[in-house]
Each structure stands twice: as C-alpha cells, then as structure tokens.
Amino acid sequence: MIVGDLSIDDWQHRMTRGVVVRIGPFTVRMTVRLREVADAMYLLYRDYPIQPEPIVLDFDVAALPISWWGRGPRMAALYFDGVRKFDPIEREQALPMFQWLLNWCIFTHPHQYLILHSAVVARDDMAAVLPGMPGAGKSTLCTALVHGGGWRLLSDEVALVTPSTGLITPAPLPIGLKEESIPVIAATYPHARMGPSVRGTRKGTVVHIATPASSMAAASEAGGGQAQPRWIIFPEYHAGARVQLEPAPRANAFMTIAADAFNYSLLGATGYETLANVVDACHCFNLQYSQLDDAIAVFDQLASQASSAASSSAGSLTGSPTGSGDAPHSTSRGRP
C-alpha cells in the first residue's frame, strides 16, 4: 500500500497517531499533528509505501503543535525517539524543518553505510554522484534529471554506499528547492508536483518536490534499487555559460568528497577503502552549465556511451577494479 491509496482524511487521521513510511531501506514512523504539514506530505509522499505495524523501526519522528493556551505565535516542536529535538519553531516553518529532521536521521545514524553528502541519480543500475557544493545548483540539476531526463532519484542529499559491495542504496526524500530555482523548475517541468512554498527559512523561500513514482518503484523494496557508481560529476551553474564537461582529477574528487562526507572519518579505514573504491569505479568530471536541457543531454550521452561500451566489452569504459560485475550483490543487511 502507498500513501496515495489512502483518502486524505484517512491519511490525516493516521498521521496524528503515527504511520510507518518506508524511505529506501528505512522504516520511519511519522507522527504529525499539524494539519497543513500532513496535507503537504500527502502530496509529497504520495508514492511512498506504508508499512503495516508492528515493525522494527529505524526512526521515530514527530511534529507537534506547542500550545500556549491560544496566545503568542503559533509554534511547533520536533521530536526524535519521543524526545524534543532542536528549539521550537514557528509553525509556518514546520514543513521544511520536518523534512530536515528526516534528512538529519539519515545523515547521523546508518553507519552501516558510508554516507556521502551528494545527490545521486541513476539510469538503470548506473549511478551518477553529484557532490553537494552549496550554490552549485545540485538540487535544481537533480530535479531536471529526474523530471525531465528519465533518470531516477536515489537521493537529493546522500549517497549511501555499502562498504562490502560499493553499491549505492536509494533513500529518496522530496527534493528541496530554494529561491530562484523554484520558478525555473515550475515553468520547465509543470508536471512535477510541488508542495507549498515556505518563506523566511534559513535558506530563504523553500519548496519541496514530490518524488516521482518512477523513482519510487525500485526504492520501495528493502535493499532494492541499488546502483553502481559510474560517474562523479561536480556541477557548477554559471549564468550564460556554455555547457562544458571536463575531466576532474580523481585525487581532488576523493579529497573533496571525503571532506564533505557525514561519516568518512567515523568509519576509519573502512571509510577510506570504500570511498577509494567508489572513486576508482567512476569517471570524474566538472560540469559547467546554464541550460538544464544541455546538462541533461550530457548525462544522457554519458549513459548511452556506458551502455554501448558495456554491451561490447563489459566494464572497459570504467576500467574499474570494483565494477558491478565482480561485486557481490547481497547487501550487508542480509534480508530477502
């Protein structure tokens, strides 16, 4: 069953008591007693599977109103494990803050993965890793690839790499867009479902975009939809620039990604080896662009080159010691 199978009233009612939604490999119980937030999430999470309880949870989160007996600004509080997390927030900010709480859960807990800070999209089982330099237009490009380029979303924020296999597990959350990219995406991809726009957040005006059903299908099963990293692409938006794809030195790519990762040093030698395998398995590029269509064309070309190379001689394009061919495909989770 997916969220969209419920009526909105049923969803509202269930959210007040807690409903378990699967986000990639994670079972997340969400309790939301803020009607407008639950409404927005009905739209944003329409294609996410609902898990019947009882089930062992990864995260238990909540967003609840704070009552001042009807006085003062309307506030809300966020909870993790039933304990209040972060300072109370203005109720208008609750939707983006709750999305951020979900991201925070994934950033800080699942150390069975090497957790890199980057967007990840895939064509078939070939993944492109887009490291998250702020302001580089990672989310905008990611949205374009997913809604206009036939790529599936693994995540807008994290690459979850399994150390034993080098594969990336999808855990997509609705992509957050900010400021000037909002009208661009709205105009270019009118079929992308957008949540309400929230003004005055730390990042200015923010809008979330529903994860498309096509990205959810593979990610919905536990351990499903994994992809082999094939490209590391550092996107850089430059107004008016012509699209340009240049090879990037691997050592630099390694260092940049390591410095920005969530648990690279926490995993010690495992972190180093896992990231080295990812970088070894990938072609590394800097991508400069101003037009989203041009950027999509570059990605499509990379993908078609890789598939034709794979059909003639497997893995020769990547020259990779950790190509998907010889990597064991069982996950560390040991689940069917």
Partner: protein, 377 residues
C-alpha cells in the same frame, strides 16, 4: 521488573531475551538503549551469547551501526592518551586514566561498545600546576574563560576547568581527586595514586607513539580494580546525575563481573571503601546492580557493607527513586512519578556536592549570569 519501561534493564540482566522480543518491544528497547548510549553494547552482548543472527535484522543492523561510533571513539581516545603522554613527557608525574579512557586502554570488557567523549586523568595535587602548563604548551586550553567559572573549579571542584585541544577539539578533564573538595565525602587521593597500576596498552592508536618518546613519557596507569569499582560507584551515586544513568550501572556490573574471578578483589573491596570513606556509594552501587541487573555479589560482601546502609525508609526510598528514574523516558510520555523521581535525584546530587549556603550562592550566581546574558541572544 516485567514493566516494558524496564526493558533495557531486563535485557542487560539476560541478553538472551533480545531474541524473544516482538517488534514493539524491539523499538522500545532500541529507544531506551539509544538514550542511554548502550546500543553498541547490546550488540556485543547479543554477540557474546550467540544471538546476533537470531534477533530481528533491523535491530542487529542498528547495533552494528552504533558500533562504528564506539570504534571511532576508541581510536580517538587511544590517540589522545598518546598525545597526553607526549605532552607530559617532561613532567615527573604519574598519569592515572579514569573512567572510559582507563577501561579502553586497560583492554577491559566494559570498554566494548562504550562511548567515550572526554579523557579523564588523575594526577597528584602538587603536580597540577606543572601538568597544566605542559598541556597548555602542547595546545590544550581552558574551556572556561569566565572568572567565576575558573574560581568555581579551582576552589571547589575536584578537577581543573575542562580543557580542550585547539586543533583536535578533544576534551580533557584533569582531576586531583575524585570528588568535589566541598562535598560531604573526601577520600584521600594519595591512597588511589599509591595503588594505581601501570598498564602496557596494546591499543593500536596508542601504539602509534614513537619509541623515542616512549622512554621519557610518564607511566600510564589505571586505578586498582577495587578502586575502579568504587570510583564508578562514587561517580554514579555521589557526584553525577542518577537519572538516565543505566550505562553507569551497566559499567559497574560489567566490571564486577570481570573482577569476579579474582578472590582478592572481593576481599579487598569493602576494606578499601572503608579506608576511603566511601562505603555508602559502594553500598548503593552494589545493591542497585544486584536488584536491577541481577549482578552476583557474595553474601559476605553485602553483609560487611551492612553498617553503611542508610536507615530502612531512606533505603527503600532511594531504591524506588533509582528504579523509577534510571531508564530514560520520552518527554512525550509524561510520567509524573518518573519526573518527580528525576527531580528528587537531581536535588540530591547537588545537596551532596556542596553545603547549602554555598549551593545557594552558586545557583544565585548562575541565575544572575543567565539573566544578564539573555538580552544579547
């Protein structure tokens, strides 16, 4: 004890129970363990009794993920002790590791899966000045710049104001005794220092120290077994906040279990507590470990501690408060009894720290400063 609120205690008492839990119980256990920083420890306990494959995979996975964190802490602490040894190479002083760093460098069972956020060391009071300057010369600095805080620590506490390394940001507490000098109990730190034993750490990160330095660095020591248990008891029942302190009790139980094979440990324990004047906290620690975690303590030990017990109503009250407040409960599940117990234990911990007049002055000063700093934020 069958209350789901005590699930964590039940599982620490009998780790095999983990393989019989349904999903809601697993969630409750993981929640209690996360709040008590015991998720990785549970993973080791499950492994020890051979049920890591028999518990729900999602629970096992979270336990192994938490192990990555405790492994990192172990690496960091091993290296910190290495650096502290280097910094103090020119100072003629023993360096006695306390608590987490000691368990880890001495290779004790209790260190497995344990999170260690700061390093605690004990040095003789008359070496404090030299130790502090040597640490400052090697990049540590005091975290408390406020003159009131400085005076509070230096005049009343059992340690220097916490120090932090400017580059590695690790926190180091330098103790000269194990309880605030203003408190009701004042054990003689000379006794602890004299009985401390030198260890030969085999820890990887520690061994990174080059051999030349090793010649001149001070001996790395840990407390004698009985003193270790007594210090943990003091830390839990005399100095710290009891609320949510399952981890502290689990530490005590694990140490007692490890030292249990050594007959002289039990022979020495109570006389040692008497020599240090710390029978009361030791009594509370052992009685709680017996009652809540099923720790085996020889009848004779509890009998000799008999005179140290508080009178019956106090004893009952304390046992009730500890049982209520030990396992952390979510704020969403408002429980008046548990929060009252926590408040009572909080007041008790401050009561034990300093005489009433001094406590009033301290709280007044804190309140003034909070009020003054408010307009700025």
């Amino acid at each position: 004890m069958n209350n789901p609120r005590h699930l964590l205690l039940q599982v620490l008492r009998d780790p095999r129970r983990m393989s019989q839990l349904d999903a809601p119980a697993c969630n409750e256990l993981l929640r209690q363990a996360r709040m008590s920083k015991l998720v990785a420890r549970l993973g080791y306990l499950a492994q020890d009794v051979g049920i890591l494959d028999a518990i729900p995979p999602k629970m096992a996975e979270q336990m192994l993920a938490a192990r990555a964190v405790s492994d990192q802490h172990a690496r960091i602490v091993g290296w910190e002790v290495n650096r502290i040894g280097k910094a103090l190479a020119g100072v003629d002083t023993p360096v006695v590791l306390l608590k987490g760093a000691a368990y880890l460098l001495a290779g004790m069972d209790v260190a497995r899966g344990r999170l260690v956020t700061d390093v605690d060391i004990l040095v003789p009071a008359d070496r404090l000045g030299q130790v502090e300057s040597a640490l400052v010369a090697h990049g540590w600095e005091s975290m408390k710049v406020d003159p009131y805080d400085q005076r509070y620590y230096r005049a009343w506490m059992h340690e220097l104001p916490p120090m932090q390394h400017t580059q590695r940001h690790s926190v180091l507490d330098v103790h000269h005794t194990i309880l605030p000098v203003t408190g009701r109990l004042s054990p003689d730190p000379q006794l602890l220092l004299a009985a401390a034993r030198t260890i030969n750490p085999t820890h990887d990160a520690y061994l990174a120290l080059d051999t030349q330095l090793k010649q001149s660095q001070p001996a790395i020591q840990v407390l004698a077994p009985a003193d270790m248990v007594i210090h943990a008891a003091v830390h839990m029942f005399q100095d710290g906040e009891l609320a949510g302190a399952v981890r502290d009790l689990a530490d005590i139980a694990a140490m007692v279990h490890q030292f249990d094979g050594d007959a002289s440990f039990w022979e020495r324990l109570v006389p040692r507590a008497e020599a240090l004047g710390l029978q009361r906290p030791l009594y509370y620690a052992l009685a709680s470990a017996v009652e809540l975690l099923g720790t085996e303590v020889p009848e004779s030990v509890m009998r000799t501690l008999g005179p140290a017990r508080p009178i019956w109503p106090l004893r009952r009250l304390m046992a009730l408060l500890v049982a209520r407040a030990l396992v952390p409960q979510p704020t969403l599940r408002n429980d008046l009894a548990a929060s009252t117990a926590r408040l009572a234990l909080y007041i008790r911990s401050h009561w034990l720290r300093m005489p009433p007049g001094m406590l009033a002055r301290h709280l007044y000063e804190k309140a003034i400063r909070r009020w003054r700093s408010e307009p700025e934020t």
